[in-house]
Structures are given as structure tokens and as C-alpha cells.
Amino acid sequence: MNSKKNGLAPISALKYLFKKPHTVRYPKEDLEVFSIKGISPNYRGFHTNDLEKCIGCGNCARVCPASAIEMVEYDDVEPANKFANTMRPTIDYGRCCFCGQCVDVCPTSSLQMSRDFIHSFHPDSSLSPEEEPESVVKDFIWRPDQKHADNPGYLRPEGDLFGKVIDFDRNEPRKEAPSERKLSFAKFVHTYSKEEAEKEATRCLGCGACVEACPNQLHIPQYIAAISKGDPEESLAWIYKRNPLPLICGEVCTHQCEEACVVGIQGEPLAIKWLKAYSSENVLKYQDVVEEKKMEPNGKKLVAVGAGPASLSFGYYAKLLGYDVTIYEAEDKPGGAMMWGIPKYRLPKEELMKDINAILDLGIKLKTNVKIGKDISFDKLMKDYDAVFVGTGNSKPMTLRIVGEDLPGVMQGLTFMKLVNEEKTPELKGKRVVVVGGGNVAMDVARSSVRLGADVTVVYRRRIVDMPAALEEIEEAQEEGVKFVETGVPLQIYGEKRTEEFEYAIASLVPDPKGGRPRPVVNDKSPHMKIKADYVVAAIGQHPNLDFLPEDMQKKIGFDGKHVPVDDYGRTNIDGLFFGGDLSNRRQDIISAIGAGLRAAKGVDLYLASQK
């Protein structure tokens, strides 16, 4: 480039006078380079938050690199669903760096950014300088709402799951094909391998929405984080803090936590249950990793009636507190409903015993084949021990109360499952089995019968969506060839010597005015149907059996035939008598029973401390 000495060169600058000026004469005019007037359509400006969609999970607050977001409790908002809370993000624009990471991580897409960005503040000059910093900071702290929502900027729409930093796709554990698994009682779900488990665990955001949903408030984020670190031992130690039956819960828990999982709002929730199964299966000896400090024995003796999950959990935590615990069990093996009610394809007996033995190894005395009320009177227990815990669960099945119920071939769900687990069922190959009910027991009965070669129909009073059984159980049963009859109300069982035909009516569903599940109503117009049935199994629920308790005691604790009222610590009206498990729980599942046992152990401790 040579520089020509050209005296006229400066004059060429005159041509710029006639060009369109490129100055943007703000505020008279605005930028006009994008598809809309003003700044770019995806600009990261002030936040907007759909307060009705927000669930208050706090992920935005945790991901904020400037720690500008604080979750604040508000009373003018409604929780978005039954697991949500009323915390909402409040943003300090004296910290915010407008990076948009909070928007990327928001699991509900409620938090977004707008194109509004102008806000300036002039502190009141009459304020004394001490007060000024506070007043300035306060002016820049807002709760984002829909104020800027009509000017949307940087956002992650609900459909754009890829753009978010959350992984929405669940890694299901490998399962055998339905045609394979219905041939035997072998476990058909393959627990995660290390890679699978770590991959699934890294989907966890660690927000802890699941903790509140869990009936026993396990340390879920902590144990999942430990798995993603590649440390199943640490994970198990976290689980053991509130749950001494990790493998059992890993296989058969009702996983309320997964319903609350925030990843599940737009995608699939984490497989929290299978992750728990992973860490407990990958630790050979629990005692090696669970370094619970056991207190010195304090010489007090406790007794638990029934060796189900509630009593085992009670025994474990009471033992840790230094008590001497004895468990009485009427059957020859511990485990209660877990032993006799759950089929082997869901929970192999060796896995069950692994958990139970780990508890019993602590030095808890187990006396099997002892029926309270028959072999030992309950009064004697009350006298001999410092406190008594009853966790016998529901053992009295509910009956259909229809004609023909006493025919041979009609069975109760739990009785049937006990036969299955003892491998003493009658020959079912080619037989037609009708299962009445829609709970988990009904599914167990149906799927066990399938495995025994029967042709199974499930008759339920309401629709499939109303069934209390876990959704995946229903789906798997359908895959295995179980037929479902919706809104079928049993009417009569026909047969000469044994069951031959089963008659039911198709009911119409009437919505419940109280907002519960719809009620099936049978009237004259309802069509009646008949199907052939060799066996009818009624799995419509159970009631507790407290016959071993003296009558006056039953009355005193307020037992109404279904339920024993207790306080948070399992205490009843009688000093030293504690109840737990299905007897007193709102939810009838294992994890609630474990929780009841844990709380009762604490309650016993408080009670005995107050006795001194």
C-alpha cells in the first residue's frame, strides 16, 4: 500500500455527507436490525416467572453463579401441584449477571427472560449514608412475575427439552421380554450396571422435592449424588440413616418420590427406586459400610410383635439407641407381608433375607412360630418388657360378600399369595382365574397366576386409571397377557361343587362430589356379564386383626376395626404401647411402615426417658 500524496484526498470525505447516517438516535428511534423493533428477540433482560407454573424447587437459586436468587416464601401464591411449595425465586439485580443459566435449568419453563432491560435508580438524597446502601439494594431486589411477560426474550419453551441442561430421558433398567418372563418366577428386572446407574444418577438435580414426598423422608439427593460419584457404599450409608431395608425398597417400593421428581414434570422422572436397588445390591456386606454408632446397651428391654417391615425398622433403630429388642413372629420366617405377600419375581427371597439378616445380625432376638395371645398372653408382654411395639399389619382379608363366595375355588388374595410363595398352589395350567380388585395384591395374584400357566382376567370396579396399583405393574401385567375388565362389579359366583362361572355387572361411574375417585353405581339398566372361572381370587383389601389384644385394650386404644390412632411417635393411649405399620398408617406400604418403626423407636426412647 503506497501512500499517494494527493492534496485532493480530503475532499473525498465530502461524499459521506450524502450517506445515510448510521447513528441510532435513541431515544427518538430504536434499533431496526432484527425481525422486531428494538433489541434482539432473544435478549437476556429482566426475568419473568409464571407464578402459577413455578413449583418452588429452587434449582434456579442453586445454579446461579452470582448467588443472586433467593427462594422466599409467599402467601399470595398457590402450590402448583401436591408436591410443590409456595417458595418463589426473588432476584437481586445487584448480583444478577444475566447469564440465563437459571432459565436453562428451570424444570417447568416458568422462569424466563424478557427483553426489558432498563431500570435505573436514584437514591433519595435525604437518606443518611448509612441507610443508603440498604435502600439501593432493596430497590434492585424483585420477585419476577408476569410484568414483563408480554415482551419475551431469552426463553426455553416447553417443547425445547434439548436446549435445557436437564436430561429428560430416563434410562430404564433392562427387563426380560414379557414372553420370557411369564414362564418363570425369576426376577426379570436387571439391576443397573455401574455405567447405567451413574448415567441415571447424573440426571438428578439434587433439589430435594422428592424428600418431602417420601413417606419416610430418605436422604434421596445425597444418596443419588453418591452414586454419580461412583460410590455405592457412601450411598448406602445415606440410605441406612432412615431405611434399614434398602434392597427391599429398591425392588418393590411404591416410589412416591418419583411422582414428585421435578425432572418428571416435562420429561421422565429419575428412577430413584432402581438407583436404591443398585447401591444396596452392589454392597456385599452392609455392616462394613454402615458405620452407625451403636450406643452402649442400656438394659431396657423392648418387644415388637410381628416381624414385618415396621417391627424390623423399629428393632434396628431401637437397637442403635441401646435397647434390647425381641421380635415375636407367628410364622416360621420373618418378613411378614414381604415374605408371604410379594411374589419372588418382584423380590427374590435371598434379597429379602439379605436385608433382614443385616438387621438381625445387630443382636436382635427373633422368636418365630410364637402366636401372641395363644402362646404368650399380651398382658405378660406388657408386664415383662419396658415397652411394646405392635406392627402386625393387615392380615384379615376383606370378603366379596356375594352369593357363592363359599364355593371351593374362591380364595382370598393374601392366602393365594402365601400358597404361591410356599409353592403349594393347586395346578393352574390352562385354568381360568378371575381376580377381583385393582391393588398391588391383585396384580401380584394375576401375574403369579400367569406364571403358573393360567388364563387371567382382572375385574375392577372402576377404570384402569383409577387403580391403586402402580402403573408399571398394570402395564407389565397387560404385556404378560392379563385381561382387564373395567367397571366390573361382582354379582354372583355360580357352580355346582366348585366355581364354574363368575357374573358381574358393568357399572356406570358417578363423579364424586368431594373430588375423590368416581363411584361405580349399578342400577337396573347395567348390563350383566358372565365369564367362565375355575378360580376366583378376591384381592380387595385387608383389615387388621387385633384378636390377640384383650377387648378392653382394643377399646382403650380406639381401634375401630380398621385403624389404630397414634401420634407422630406411634404412641397410643396406653403407656408403653406403641403401634406402627399398616395398622396405623395412612398409606399402606413398606416405606411408610419403615417410617412408622423409625418414629416409634424415637417415641419409645422419649417415653422411657420421661419414665425415669
Binding site: 444478577c96 436514584h122 449514608p129 446502601p133 434492585f140
Partner: protein
């Protein structure tokens, strides 16, 4: 012409020619060249950069202030002749911004010098900057921006805060006795 009319007239012209000090204290300064030059052209408002503090009216604190810079900013502010105004740019001057936990960046500017206008943003866009200039002009013309009077009236308080940062004579955290040992 009465006294108040006279000061009104003075304020009017003050608001029409505000010279800002050309001092890039932080990263917000990267938005100043576009504002000063042809695209946004703030000379339209009578604002031009000025190299010396003596002739400047506006001190722009463009973002975070490290301890070292704060010292120079305080010198500079003291050198500027009244009336003088301070604009705090972006999150960092309000509550520490993304450097809220940094060991070398102050959190709140108004502990050390009075600020007339704060602008939200990290960093503020040219539009936001000009918006606040217009706001400042209005305030000046109305005679409302009086941060400098506050500074002189409460000089001791501001000075004490400044000395708290500059005049450290012992370690801030306890553990520091090791330092003397190892160094």
C-alpha cells in the same frame, strides 16, 4: 434576575453539557466506546469524554472496583470539582454482582462515595446508559442530584469506610499468622 432564577438557568446549562471522565474502571467500559462514537453518539446530549478529573463533571464507575482501583477512584473523585455526579454501572456497584465473594472486589459502592444513579444490567446496554444520562440531565436541571453535597457533609463517615479497606494494618481473617511464618 433573582438568585433562584439564576441557579435555575445555571442548572439548565449544566445539564446540557456534562463532561464525563475518561476512566475505564471495569468491564462496563467496553460499552462506552460505542456510546461515545458514531453508532449511539452521546455527544447529542452534550456529553463528551474528558481526560482530566479537574474538568470532568461525571464519574462513571463502570462495574466492579478492585481495592486498588477504588483507591484511585476516591483520589479522582476528590480531585473533581463540584458539581460532580457519579453513575454506578451495573450489578457490581449495587451489591457486588458476580464478584460478590471475591477477595479483591468491593461489594457496595455507596459505602465509599455517594452515587447519584444506578443502572441495572450486566453490563448495561447503550440504551440503558443513555437513558440514565437523560435521567441525570433532568435531575441536574431540577437541581436534585446532590450526591457531592452529601459527601462533604458526611465526609467522616465515607472516609472511615474508605480507611477500613485501604488502611488495613492487620490481616482480615484470623488464620493469617501462618503467613508471616512461611514468607
Amino acid at each position: 434576575m433573582s438568585q433562584s432564577q439564576w441557579s435555575e438557568l445555571v442548572n439548565y446549562f449544566r445539564g446540557r453539557s456534562m463532561w464525563m471522565l475518561h476512566y475505564c474502571t471495569g468491564c462496563g467500559a467496553i460499552e462506552l466506546p460505542p456510546v461515545m462514537t458514531s453508532r449511539w453518539d452521546m455527544e447529542r446530549f452534550g456529553i463528551i469524554p474528558m481526560a482530566t478529573p479537574r474538568q470532568a463533571d461525571i464519574l462513571l464507575i463502570t462495574g466492579y472496583l478492585s481495592i486498588k482501583t477504588l483507591k484511585r477512584v476516591v483520589y479522582t473523585y476528590d480531585q473533581m470539582s463540584t458539581p460532580k455526579w457519579v453513575l454506578g454501572f451495573g450489578s457490581c456497584t449495587i451489591n457486588g454482582g458476580i464478584y460478590w465473594d471475591s477477595y479483591n472486589v468491593i461489594d457496595r459502592l455507596d459505602k465509599y462515595i455517594p452515587v447519584d444513579i444506578y443502572i441495572a444490567g450486566c453490563m448495561p446496554r447503550p440504551e440503558a446508559i443513555m437513558d440514565s444520562f437523560i435521567k441525570l440531565r433532568e435531575m441536574v436541571q431540577k437541581g436534585e442530584a446532590k450526591g457531592y453535597e452529601k459527601y462533604t457533609k458526611n465526609y467522616e463517615w465515607y472516609k472511615a469506610n474508605q480507611d477500613h479497606v485501604f488502611g488495613r494494618s492487620e490481616p482480615v481473617l484470623r488464620k493469617a499468622e501462618e503467613v508471616t511464618k512461611s514468607a
